[in-house]
Subunit: 155 residues, 2 copies
Amino acid sequence: MNTKLFFPITISIFIVACTETKFDLKAEEAAIIKADSTWSALSAESKDVDKILSYWTEDAVVIPPGQPVVKGKEALRKFVEESFKIPGFSISWKSSDVKLSPDGKLAYLYGENMTTMLDSTGNKISMPGRGYSIWKKESDGSWKCVVDIFNNPPQ
Amino acid sequence: MNTKLFFPITISIFIVACTETKFDLKAEEAAIIKADSTWSALSAESKDVDKILSYWTEDAVVIPPGQPVVKGKEALRKFVEESFKIPGFSISWKSSDVKLSPDGKLAYLYGENMTTMLDSTGNKISMPGRGYSIWKKESDGSWKCVVDIFNNPPQ
């Protein structure tokens, strides 16, 4: 090979390597929203605890208003299982406004949720919430939730 | 120049360019915690509104429990000014557990805060909170808060 070709070839190789961090913004946003809405639908059914837990990272943190901080998979499992024991319990949410880090590996999104349950007299009570969740892209390409915090809107 | 030098020189240039995304994790964590603690000290004084506002991005969002979502600099200015009018108002916080995106451009951190004010009879009331803030690194190298949300711990 002519040594003069080293220059353009080397440049080409490194341009490809350097642009590896580029990503399809719309595709990643859509992937996060899809995972999040599937997760909400699963949670609304209040059945498959393992499947629901699979959307969190091992060290994920959830901070529900007025309750202790829930940190890590085992605590989250207990939190989900205890919630599902509440008569008439259901939670669902809808997220929007996804923002990603420049490398496309970390994201945060706004969400509005609704928790319903039955009170001691059997009447359905609904509690709205709004907050943010933070997601990270795992090595297998999937998005997992690392932080979820919400609070109550004005009454 | 000998054309044989093109290869090592070109490689060196692109290695430098490619590793531009590397960063000093401990230094960035320290920079965020320092900005955050300076911000808390300023807020506790309840005086310099402009300086306090400078820690948020133009499109920052704050979600205080039980209050409307506060979005953008103008709304944040009003929010801060109104808070400072409350008799005996003061807020301060302490953050920890900084996590950064792989490119070092986006971060989130856990924080615990304390808001104090005087009630109608002049007695001091203190309200603890805990939550997460999300920060982004600006083009000038400074860190700014883009999201701040907290709620009340168990009573």
